[in-house]
Amino acid sequence: MYWLREIARRLRMLVHRRQFDADLEEEMQLHLELRQQEHIESGMTADSARAAARRRFGNVTALREKSHMAWGWEWFESLLYDTRYALRRLRKSPSFTITVVLTLALGIGATTSIFTLFYEVLLKSLTVANPGELYRLGKEARCCYWGGYSQENEYSLVSYDLYKRFRGHTQGFAELAAFQASDPLFGVQRSGGTESAQSYPGEFVSGNYFAMFGISAYAGRLLTSTDDQPGAPAVAVMSYRLWQQYGSDPSIVGSVFHIDNTPFIIVGVTPPSFFGDTLRSDPPDFFLPLNSETLMPQADAGDLNQADQYWLDLIGRIRPGTESAAIEAQMRVELKQWLLSHQSEMSANDRAKLPEQTLFLRPGGSGITSMRAEYEHWLQILMMVSAFVLLIVCANVANLMFVRGMQRRRETSLSVALGAHTSRLVRQALTESILLSLAGGVTGLLVAFAGTHLILFFAFPSARGVAGLPIHASPSMPVLLFAFFVSLVAAVAFGVAPAWMTTRVDPIEALRGMSRSTARAGALPRKMMVVFQAALSLVLLAASGLLTTAVHRLENQRFGFLQEQRTIVRIDPGLVDYQPNQFTILYDRIRASLSTIPGVAAAAICQYSPLSGNNWASSVWLDGRPAPGPDAGKVENMVYWDRVTPGYFSAIGTQIIVGRGISEEDTATSQHVAVINEAFAKKYFNNENSIGQYFGRPELGSSRNYKIVGVVQNARYLDFDFDKPIVPFFFLAEAQHDVVAKTGADSNPGSHHLHDIILVVRPGATVSAAEIRQAIISVDPRLPIESIGTLGEQVSNQFRQQRLIAKLSSFFGMLSLVLASIGLYGVTSYNVGQRTAEIGVCLALGATPAQVAALVARRGFALVAVGLAVGFPLALAVGKFLGSQLYGLSPYDPATTFLAIVTLSFSTLVAALIPALRASRISPSEALRAE
């Protein structure tokens, strides 16, 4: 505490230092006067008494300084003086200051806004207690279902049975919680409410889920283990965001909500900061106990009590002092034991793979990382791009500072001549840089705030549910620190060179006329800045060109279906309690009802329309060939499929190449048929007579489930793997139900819940949403309509991120181009100014204006040429880094690179030509008089 009081005393001195100096002055004065008095009394004259007193006292000024410095604040005071001095100098050249601050604001703002996203998405922990104690199962996020008794590479999803095994046997976890890996939408209706059912994201979680995260309810209570028991009353927890939507009504807690037509009592509300276990754009609004899964309608139910249905993610909180590696080893043993105990139910494949089954624990403080995986690469790209922009900004500002330093040489050399310390001069120059940079940083934060908002708005225009994005545009502490740090780094980056220049000033120059000086100090670094800027601009232009071309190609690829005049109406028949045999009639009536709307040319319904984000997959077993082996479950052997009503292919605009599509003749009782795409025909029949052949699905236990009646053109259904060829796909008739050979049960009742109605609108006609709703309500008012939109929107939404990243990098590319051009312009015109006399002499001796212009421009352009030479290999390297974001476009796309070079050359040529032309118009006589 002693030193603390000392600091307090020192601080008090700092605050009152004027008073302090005055006190000291008065005290010393008194001393001198009393001594003088004494001497006078002993008989001296007044003058000699004063002199004697002073002699005995010592050097008053030096002692005063010594007393002052004893308090240890001289560094602070000189900083204060330097700051005041720098501020005064900056105020005296407002245009310079504003230019520099704005340029820096752009650079720092761009970097900071990208960092905000980077931090929020990639670095931030969940807002739960002690996230460092959390561990999750799985090295990589796996979505969302897995069946059988083996998992590829690692066990990252678990069944309820396996979860109970882990929870019961792993002592190292204080709590181990499980929750649904997929992110379903629930149809939700408040009991007694008048409005129709709405869809909200939600998930099933284990009873100890909230206890594991260590969070407590905002209102009411959260789920407990007693809620998660078979036969427990159906209760649910609501998100704070949704609760707010209901006007933060306290009566919500305790009221009944129908979730997928099942009544649940809302027992509590999560805290505002809680966004669930996973960073995603649509956090859950409802949390339901795992055991309530059995209460739900058939579409959802059935996973809970199947030991080999993996649909849960695991996160556990380890006991303090426990090693995660030890728990991991123990869980591997438990997994083996569990698998062995289920050996009798295993397929031969699974039994063969048993020895290689393993699992991994990873830090889980930031939750399950699907969004992270999705955005990591593109955030890295943007981070890199913005760092390049910042570098260019620094180079540009350094150039401006150089010019300023050159103009101040005389002043500086005068200071040196008068005895100023070099270190103090450097400190002054750096102080100025840091002030500029901090001003740029503060302005940059505003830019960043607006920029982040804008990016979020474009990237996630319509998140499902009301929970909103768990990403905040407003700067958090780490972001503020980042901006501050970046500002300081920038200040040093652009401030060191001019500061260094001040140390190289010869005092003798103060005595000479500056304009007569032959010194060309700083010429080389300034040229290097231009080279550097040109090189970085080329990289950015090439990268943005590649990204833009890639997106353009994505959007204009052959999709295999028609987007024009197609409207998609999304419904959820699974939420209404239809019997399995009622669907075909329902769909017929919906199609008929919609067809009566004027302007509607056709209507067809499918389980999932192209690029809607959902698809079912299975492996296939071709008739007359051996049953699929152990590799059948691998992703590359999966075949995707869709269930459709008659008239589907003409409605979606996919051409039938051979045979026929699904039609009215395919009824529940007729031969089960399939229509395959070209990729299917090519892969399994080598493009030869596939019509009339049979195939089946191993899980149905037959190779003759379907007879192939048609082949259609390839169409893009999957919303991933855009850089790969279209995969094999088959289409089944809605009216025909698949039956498992052994049991005779309907194998995929859920596949008859068709979600997407495709309406073909006649050219020139418009169909309103109200008309569509009315037509569907007239069939069944209970049927929830999730959305109505065009197929074109659905497709372009797929490429929103790619478009955004291309746009952002183009923006950064243009920014860098402008900055590089300004930089070159600055250097060239400064050189012209320096060489006015020389140019005058040339002109007087008979050089033509064109020759002079060429001389000046050539110099400037030579710098750009060097920049291009440096930037070219860099641009290639960056293209390679972009790699997977280019969707099959070669990173060495010559056209794009060439275009970038031409653009850069042209704009820098203009930048160099302007001062060159000015030079050619110099009048020789004026130039010679100019000194």
């Binding site: 000392e6 005290e27 001393h31 005995r56 010592g58 002692l63 308090w71």
Partner: protein, 109 residues
């Protein structure tokens, strides 16, 4: 009259001791007191009292407050604190140790 410079490092000791003996003094009085008691042998470069007093203020050995002199002038009076008393004891024992050692060295035969 010849006056000796005070040995280096003993200025604090002298000031502390003087204040301990006399209670409240201002700078001029401290200088005079040291000089008088040492029979004019110890001569402080009077001005150097002030930086030393500042350092002692920082350390918390003395406190200062403004008062009025007999001649009705404003003056800053210094006073020993508890920490200053402790420091005096430390400096005293240090000084005695050094002096003792020097004495032993020069008196050794």
């Amino acid at each position: 009259m010849h006056r000796d410079e005070i040995p280096p490092g003993t200025l604090y000791l002298l000031i502390l001791k003087t204040l301990a003996r006399s209670g409240e003094l201002h700078g001029y009085e401290i200088a005079n007191s040291i000089q008088r008691i040492s029979d004019d042998v110890l001569q402080v470069e009077e001005g150097s009292l002030y930086p030393a007093l500042q350092r002692m203020l920082i350390k918390g050995w003395v406190t200062a407050k403004w008062g009025t002199t007999a001649g009705n002038r404003r003056a800053r009076y210094y006073q020993l604190t508890a920490a200053g008393r402790k420091q005096l004891a430390v400096e005293m024992s240090q000084f005695e140790r050094v002096i003792g050692a020097i004495t032993r060295v020069i008196e050794a035969v």
